[in-house]
């Protein structure tokens, strides 16, 4: 009878089996992408937090969820469910990256090992970067950023004994780690890698990070590297860059959404009308009159990239099962243009040419010359609703209405469940 008490699970593999086999470990890596794609992170929550918190009248929240409502009101509570899931899912991805990095010795093939490690570092850096941008005061270039960042965790937790109660690292430490991981990823990733991160995904993300830090030289050089060598090209029309089943030619990395992933795309769920997968009644996030003022040419495809579903919606997130672009080549042109302009250089091309490349693609009239305001306005025309709003406001020192760009209320609270579970974590001021 004793043997009867040994029952093996039929839907699960044990930890030992998973970490001792490279094929299984690669499947954990694949799962880290899956978790990154989930609605809690890059499937919408991060971008929506950024767009709504930074909103000053372009958008309106019609939705019934309280949590995004707190974003647009700029009155987040520490028990905000979106905030909690951004944090929890972020560290879940980091742990999976750490599982790969801590057990990569099981790979027999050196190339496979190197790629797996580099992808793990890419994902880890990506998450740390966004957690730092959301949960910390803005980064200031040229000084030691000693303000609180987020805890850096490098050890995989496979056993309850490894659970520790970390304190928050400084923002400087977090950015240093992000650059280090991404630089490794850039050095070690192959230039093509299916739908997964490539060398140029890493370069593009580095460009984004450097821009956020105000390090325009590196931002420019990385953007130029991507434009020159990645092989990516702008889609023929603006609409071609969105709502695709397969990645478009300008995607440097996109989150894959299939018909098996119903409701994992929050961008669609909240930005789309209900006939296109959005929540019932109306678009939860509609685009208000004020927004349309940024378009200077009625022929600009971007000025017409909206549709009516009771209220007006952006067409960017119209397809429930479409891939979610994470880094588009268009952003690289914008980074290169802005950095070149600020540095008064013309690495790769002149700022005016870079801007006109984007305007041409969207059938907007071109400029003879550009200044910083025009470049930044072009950036807004190109990248609206993709999650850049808050991070650009903080980077550029733009106040949101009457709220200062570095105000406490524009920084997310450390989730209440987290400060409850780990008393070593210091809460952000104002919560």
């Amino acid at each position: 009878c004793n043997d009867n008490l040994n029952i093996e699970p039929e839907q699960y593999l044990s930890t030992e089996v998973v970490i001792s086999n490279s094929e299984n470990l690669s499947k954990v890596l694949n799962n880290a992408y899956n978790d990154a794609r989930s609605s809690s992170s890059y499937g919408g929550s991060i971008a929506i937090a950024s767009e709504l918190i930074a909103d000053d009248g372009d958008l309106w929240w019609n939705g019934t969820y309280v949590d995004p409502g707190e974003f647009i009101e700029k009155a987040m509570l520490s028990d905000n469910g979106f905030v909690e899931s951004i944090w929890m899912n972020g560290y879940d991805i980091i742990n999976q990256a750490n599982i790969i990095l801590g057990n990569s010795s099981v790979y027999a093939d050196e190339d496979e090992k190197q790629t797996a490690e580099a992808e793990a570092k890419f994902l880890r850096a990506m998450v740390y970067f966004d957690l730092a941008r959301l949960f910390s005061k803005p980064y200031t270039n040229g000084i030691q950023n000693t303000q609180l960042g987020v805890p850096l965790v490098f050890t995989a937790v496979l056993d309850p004994k490894n659970i520790d109660y970390p304190t928050r690292n400084t923002l400087e430490e977090v950015y240093t780690q992000v650059i280090a991981d991404l630089t490794d990823a850039y050095d070690l990733l192959p230039s093509s890698n299916g739908v997964y991160a490539t060398k140029y995904s890493a370069a593009a993300l580095l460009a984004r990070v450097y821009l956020q830090m105000g390090d325009y030289t590196n931002a420019r050089d990385m953007a130029n590297e991507v434009i020159t060598n990645s092989g990516a090209s702008l889609t023929n029309s603006f609409s071609g860059a969105f709502n695709n089943d397969e990645n478009s030619e300008e995607d440097l990395l996109a989150w894959q959404v299939t018909s098996q992933d119903a409701s994992s795309n929050y961008l669609n769920l909240f930005f789309a009308g209900s006939d296109f997968g959005g929540r019932s009644g109306n678009p939860d996030i509609d685009v208000e009159d004020q927004h349309y003022e940024i378009y200077d040419d009625s022929n600009d495809q971007r000025a017409n990239f909206f549709y009516e579903a009771k209220y007006w919606c952006t067409t960017k997130w119209q397809y429930q099962f479409g891939n979610i672009p994470f880094i588009r080549l268009a952003e690289m042109y914008l980074i290169r243009a802005e950095s070149n302009f600020r540095l008064t250089t013309t690495v790769g091309d002149t700022p005016v040419n870079d801007i006109n490349i984007l305007r041409n693609r969207s059938t907007a009239s071109t400029f003879n010359s550009v200044d910083l305001d025009i470049i930044l306005m072009e950036r807004k025309r190109e990248l609206s609703f993709e999650g850049f709003a808050l991070f650009d406001a903080k980077r550029l020192g733009n106040n949101i209405g009457t709220i200062s760009y570095d105000a406490n209320q524009l920084v997310l609270p450390i989730p209440l469940r987290e400060t409850d579970a780990n008393t070593n974590l210091e809460q952000n001021p104002g919560y």
Partner: protein, 976 residues
Amino acid sequence: TIIDEQGMPLPGVSIIIENTQTGTETDFDGNYSIKAKPENVLIFSFLGLKTVKQTVGKKTTINVSMISDNQLEEVVIVGFGKQSKRTVTDNIASLTSKDLNNIPISNLQGALTGKAAGVQIQQINGKVEGGVKMRIRGVSTISSSQEPLYVIDGMPLINDDESVSDAPMNPLISLNPNDIESIQILKDASSAAIYGARGTNGVVLITTKQGKSGKTKISVNSSYGWSEATNTVKFLNAEQYIELFTEASANSYGADDLWLTEPGGYFDDMANGLDWRTGEVDTDWTDYALVNGSVQDHSFSISGGDEKTVFYVSGAYNNTEGIVRGNSLERYSYRGNLDHKVSDKFRIGLNSSLSKTQISRIGTDNSFSTPLQAIAQSPLNPAYLDDGVTPNNESTIYYNFLMQEYNGSWDVNITRAIMNTFAQYDFTPDLSFRTEIGYDSNNQLDEYFAGSLTESASTNGYADATSIQSDKYNINNYFTYQKSFNTSNLEVVAGMSFEESSRKRQYVAGTGFPSDELQTVESASEITAGSSSRTKYNFLSYFSRATFSLYDKYLLKGSIRYDGSSRFGADNRYGIFPAASVGWILSEEDFLKNSNTVSSLKLRGSYGITGNAGIGNFASLGLYSGNAYNKTSSLSPSQLANSDLKWERTTQVDVGIDFGFLNNKITGEVDYYVKTTNDLLLNEPVPGTSGWSSITRNVGSMQNSGFEFVLNTTNVTTSNFTWNSSLNLSTLKNEVTKLPNGDIVAERNLVREGETISSFYLVEYAGVDPDNGDALFYTNTTNADGTLDKTKTNVYSDAERIVTGNPYPTLMAGFTNNLSYRNFDFSFTFQGEWGASIYNEGGKFQSGNARYEDNQTVDQMNRWQNPGDITDVPQARMYSTNGQQASTRYLEKSDFIRLRNLSLGYTIPRNVTQKFSVDRLRIYFTGVNLLTFTDYTGYDPESTYDNYGNSSIQKGIAFYSAPPAKTFTLGLNIDL
């Protein structure tokens, strides 16, 4: 002639010649005649009276006086045997069919409410299939199962919630309460320890009805009833809504901003073409959500038998239309019980039941499709479009739940078969062996469809189907040795039990339907999800119990159980669960034996250890599950390993007195118990920075203690009028005594050392600033001397949370009265609970001084308007937070007293009905939840959020939770 104790003739007594099938029955005057030989033995039996055996001999007339089975001579079922109630040394609450019959509630637990001391029974909310929580002597665990073990005729029942949504369903919904003969609730450790690893939450032993030898008896019961909600809450009408929200908008955006009221403004939007200015629209959404329900219950049973074989066959039909729109239940059930003596030494039996239950379900409390969420809609929202048929989903603030009924469905079909068979062989009169094989099969099919007009519009409809096959088989083998010596009695039971439970589940979902008429997944253009899974667990156990009594007054019992389960790590697989109890029947001592006052008096004491294994099947292992990214397989970390995981152990001490005074006209029990659980199985939250949210560990300790008091009185007994009362009171004190890794906070509920489990942990609301209408909170920061700083602040984040109340009652009471006068019978039960609170998680929307556009409770009209106003409702500021944060503003005491049930019956005189060959014809009225006395202002002091129905920490939370039904029933009992 057969007479009773009062000398009255007894009709309907069965008389049988021993070892034959020959028998008869007394007539209306108690007379009988039968042909018998002198050597025959006649057996006289009658329900509730002691069976009498008489050898015929030379007598031609045999008159018998039958005496009642004294209450203390009652037999109670204990695990693996039965025992005379007189000599029981444990605390067991015993209920019989009389306590349960004719209460028109479709679930058996509901009928027990208020009847047993220390037992709290709560249906989560008013949905008919809703989960029911039975807590015996409080909650003794944090993260593992809090449910008692249910055992029917010796067979542990499947008691897994198989709801496909977060709202639990009652797994026992498919049992027909009319088939139950008795229920024993094993409350103390000494009685429950024979079920070892699963005894901690108490054990509920259900015994089904058996036939009796004699005349075949046919009983028919038929009832029909009406129901409505016990309570509704008043919301704003259109006029009030316009007033409050116009003001709220003015406060936020200035009175010049007419976005609500201007032509084409938001109010026009809401009204969808109707003119709200002239009062053309004023929808009372409550009327659409809570409707009039009905209950039909029809059953019959045929029972009888002879000396060798008895049988009981029954069939029943129940149809309950819930008070929440679209929610209903229909159940067909059958039972056949058979007991046969093959020889003097060998007995076999079979109990079998089959039932089919169909349930129309509705969304969980947290879905827009659940009816009660309609109260959030504006009174300016028409419920239907102009055609009066199509629900208005164009202008409602939220998804209109009526659409779900109009264009969707959710049906559950449950087929349940329970079979128990036993064989018993008596080697000698002292020694017997019994083997029992039980099988329980629960098959459930869940089908959901949402058409092209529902929330699934974008995919042109959605359908899914979930099928579950749950099987449990159980084998018990045990010996019973029973011997009476001159001055003592000994009984020993020893045996083993093996139980295996397996569960299989299949699921498929699809989207894209060519027509709303085609509602099964087969018509889907795309299969969007599917899965199948298998899991299993088992228990292997050995047990033994010895009961000894000396001089029939000194009682001793000891038991031990050795349990093994597949659920625990290989190193901690087995557990030993011992128990012992003693009793002393003082009333048998010389100094009391002849007392006229004291008719019985017994002291009891017990001690025992029980366990709890109610955790996941593979809780000790580190697990990765299959997943996918971009349709490529992936492995997702799903559980951290913990090989140290072991049984949770509860030690319980109970002392009690059973007493009877004045010829047992007054009887009762007083008990005090202390129940200490160590190695608490805990889903402990861990820092999310670890990549995990929680792990299951054995940490911490908890204690429950309380008094229980039962008093039964026979107030009046005359030939025409009888009146009995039964009062039970119980107190409960729960304290988490050790929690080494500190507080566990689950939103509003807290687990903290020194506090009651699930205490509310909230910022304290301090009312409204009379100067500016701001909501205020007490800072409650701790001063240097340890007191709390009661400074008021309007900055929420400056206020600290405090422990304030908890969701469990500290005092519970039940009071039942049974009266009969001539042919009338009347009974009623009052039940009350004191000390618990409920937090309304929906409060911020429902009573949030117009922060959101949701309709508001009428009390929000008392909002602050002008400097100097003294009120609890802050200034209304649309889309701007002012007091809607989680705080004690939404916490309320939920004390209540309820007239739980009442029944009034009239039995047509027998001499009338006999003319139609009817033994008994009774017509009756029954009411459930007729009266509720409470200060609680929410829907119902017993209704809570069904999404947290299976949460062990998040308790006492209300969220659009439907009230229970108040039911009025008329019925008919016929015995042939």
